[in-house]
């Protein structure tokens, strides 16, 4: 066994940290204080990364990616998450981009990839529907053939970022024959320039907009915007779910949050000292930090396997569950650390609610979603029970 990273990976981590140290001051202030970043700020951050050549760590170099190995990708993601930099929207860079690289036509690659990379076009995902959540394959958005087009009718929901998006990738029903998984196609729709696509964002409990609903009424999508074969969309969707599984549990973000909880505690007066002097509260932080170490080690075992070119081992399947649950517990602890300040909200004046606490309540609320998205934790438990433990249906 070898605990340590290889020397070239240690050097790479230094390179990433040096880059982060040069972050624009306004980004640095917000990152240090665990702020939320708006969509505009997030896209600005993507342009900064793109200028450095680092916008798409998981793309091959020939398409403008970094060509990094899995450990470099992980280090990069980890350090950015730990530093609380804006989380780039994954729908173009992590999801549809790699899918196009693998399954797209040459025309599709030329048309879409450069603008995904630069951030000139924003993407969103049309998977879930009001009646197709965990049971995604029961989706009903119709795509009927008409000449060289499909005509789309129906509704998608939880279409995160659709309110800002230029393009949406959807799973649509192109056949009602056979198993429900077999009649689905993967289509790309131009939100801005197609009649009959309407987007209505939800205000989340965090007081920000993230997800939205998207309606399709006789919306025309050319058949040339289909990725993969007709009725072959389900395997596209599954291929997509396999991308970058090691990062889904929010483990690196949790590491940043643990530090921030300590920071809040240090700045929270208690008697003549601070909350960070209180053994009871310190023990609560410690218990979660120890738990996080356990999850981090599980993640490192999974990463080491990936670096050796192996398929994700069984330990990677637990990362989503225990990673996100730990993440949430840490945000709960951050709220507890704030005491009366936890009454505040992101628009409270700074003399009442200091900058380092400004966004905690918002993010605490929004992060209730992390045990739901990406396959709810209950679905993950079903997966473990059936695929790993072999328990009967």
């Amino acid at each position: 066994m070898e605990m340590d990273l290889a020397p070239e990976h240690v050097a790479f981590r230094e390179e990433v940290l040096d880059f982060l140290a040069e972050m624009p001051a306004e980004f640095a202030r917000k990152a240090r204080n665990a702020h939320y970043f708006s969509h505009a700020e997030t896209m600005e951050w993507q342009r900064i990364l793109h200028a450095k050549g680092w916008a798409a760590p998981n793309w091959p170099a020939e398409h403008g990616g970094t060509g990094w190995d899995v450990t470099r990708r992980f280090i990069f993601t980890e350090e950015l998450a730990r530093a609380n930099t804006p989380e780039l929207s994954p729908f173009g860079l992590v999801m549809v981009g790699p899918l196009l690289i693998e399954f797209g036509t040459d025309e599709q690659k030329q048309r879409f990839l450069p603008k995904i990379l630069s951030g000139d076009e924003v993407w969103c995902q049309g998977y879930s529907e009001p009646n197709a959540g965990s049971d995604l394959a029961s989706l009903q958005l119709r795509a009927d053939k008409d000449g060289s087009d499909y005509i789309l009718n129906g509704q998608k929901t939880w279409t995160t970022n659709a309110q800002y998006a230029d393009w949406i990738f959807v799973l649509a029903r192109t056949s009602r024959e056979g198993r429900k998984q077999e009649g689905i196609s993967f289509l790309l729709a131009d939100i801005q320039n197609t009649d009959g696509i309407d987007v209505k964002p939800f205000l989340t409990t965090g007081g920000t907009t993230a997800f939205s609903e998207t309606w399709f009424k006789d919306a025309r999508v050319p058949q040339s915007n289909r990725v993969g074969p007709e009725n072959g969309g389900w395997s596209m969707a599954k291929a997509l779910l396999g991308h970058e599984r090691t990062a889904i549990g929010g483990v690196s973000e949790s590491g940043g949050w643990i530090q921030h909880v300590k920071r809040i505690a240090l700045k929270t007066p208690l008697g003549k000292g601070t909350l960070l002097d209180d053994p009871g509260f310190r023990s609560r932080i410690a218990a979660l930090e120890m738990r996080l170490r356990a999850v981090t080690m599980a993640q490192n075992r999974s990463l080491a396997d990936a670096q050796l070119g192996r398929a994700p081992g069984p330990e990677s399947s637990i990362l989503k569950i225990v990673g996100t649950e730990t993440y949430q517990e840490i945000t709960e602890l951050a709220m507890d650390a704030m005491g009366h300040d936890a009454l505040g909200w992101k628009d409270s004046p700074e003399e009442v609610l200091p900058d380092h606490e400004k966004w905690i309540a918002s993010r605490f609320n929004y992060l209730r979603a992390c045990t739901i998205y990406g396959g709810s934790n209950e679905i993950q438990r079903n997966v473990i029970a059936k695929r790993i433990l072999g328990l009967p249906s």
Partner: protein, 387 residues
Amino acid sequence: MNFDLSEEQQMIVDTVAKWVEVQSPVERFRKCREDDRTWDRETWAAMGEYGWLGVCYDEDIGGFGGDFLDAALILEQLGRGLVPEPYIPSVVMGGSLIERLGSDEHQERFLTPMLEGKTSLALAYAERQSRYNLSDCLTSAHAKNGGYVLAGEKTWVLNGHAADQIVVAARTSGDQLDDRGISLFVVDGDAANLTRVEAKGMDGHTTALLRFEGVEVGPDRLLGEVDSGLPHLEWAVDRGAAAACAEGQGCVQELFERTVAYLKQREQFEVPIGSFQALQHRAADMYTETELCRSTMLLAAIQVDSDDPEIRKAEVSAAKAQLTRGGWFVQENAIQLFGGIGVTDEQDEGLYFKRLRVLQGLFGDADHHIARFQALERFDAAVRSEA
């Protein structure tokens, strides 16, 4: 990073696993627990012969030159068979201190025979009032005639009833709670004025309360420097804790696997109970906790001999807390899912449950290790330096 076992390590694991299956299944433990000694001298000698007792000792004293992880891998397999021989007190704890602090003569007299399985060792440090605080030591060692006289009591000494030599922590100076002033001595198990009160534990292992009523030892029985034993004792007890995590891993793994097998086999309402989602989710969570126990156990085994005591303490504490809390989740649900049969002595699961609970309480429980973790300098050094 690479967490694969080396070829040699995989061979050790396979060999010990096979031996447990054939030579030391749970039935052997059931026989041993009926005896006074509760472990078997011939088996111990065989373990010495196979080289398992010397696996992490230097070659020049009869060991195999491996590291702690090798011993942890052996212990995990021994845990799967509830093997009762005193590996932790003798190899991991008492022996480690003799190797680290002892003279050549100490090593030759006390260590080499133990590595061969001819003798066994123990480490006596806990007292009635000390709980998990290693600085808390009332047992005294007064200088006399160039040697020392020991007086006091040590409780729940693992293998204290059978050990040929016992490493004893005793105060040579200072007050009850002082860090400085603790010294370590090698005392013969049959020394004059030493009474061993045997106590059989919940897990079927025998331990002893040791009463020192003027036990005289020569100056040659002092290990290391006088008054300076505490850091070494902390290290040895941390090794014990990491070893408890390794043996406990074997118990956790057994309980988890046996429960999943039972869920597939046991039928109610005309279907296997493992088809019920409520139980599937419980089993999935047991799987998660088992894997987290394994991750932290490996980390602790790798770092327990770190040059930086803060790293050692952090990883050992994280592992011990996980064994104690996560392991508990596995064991309580194992019994629950087996139903009434899980509470009978004839079913092996209860034996694993009891051994695991003993290992969880040894060398610091979760509360102790959480408290220790938050007291480390590295816990808040980074945020304090920002301010």
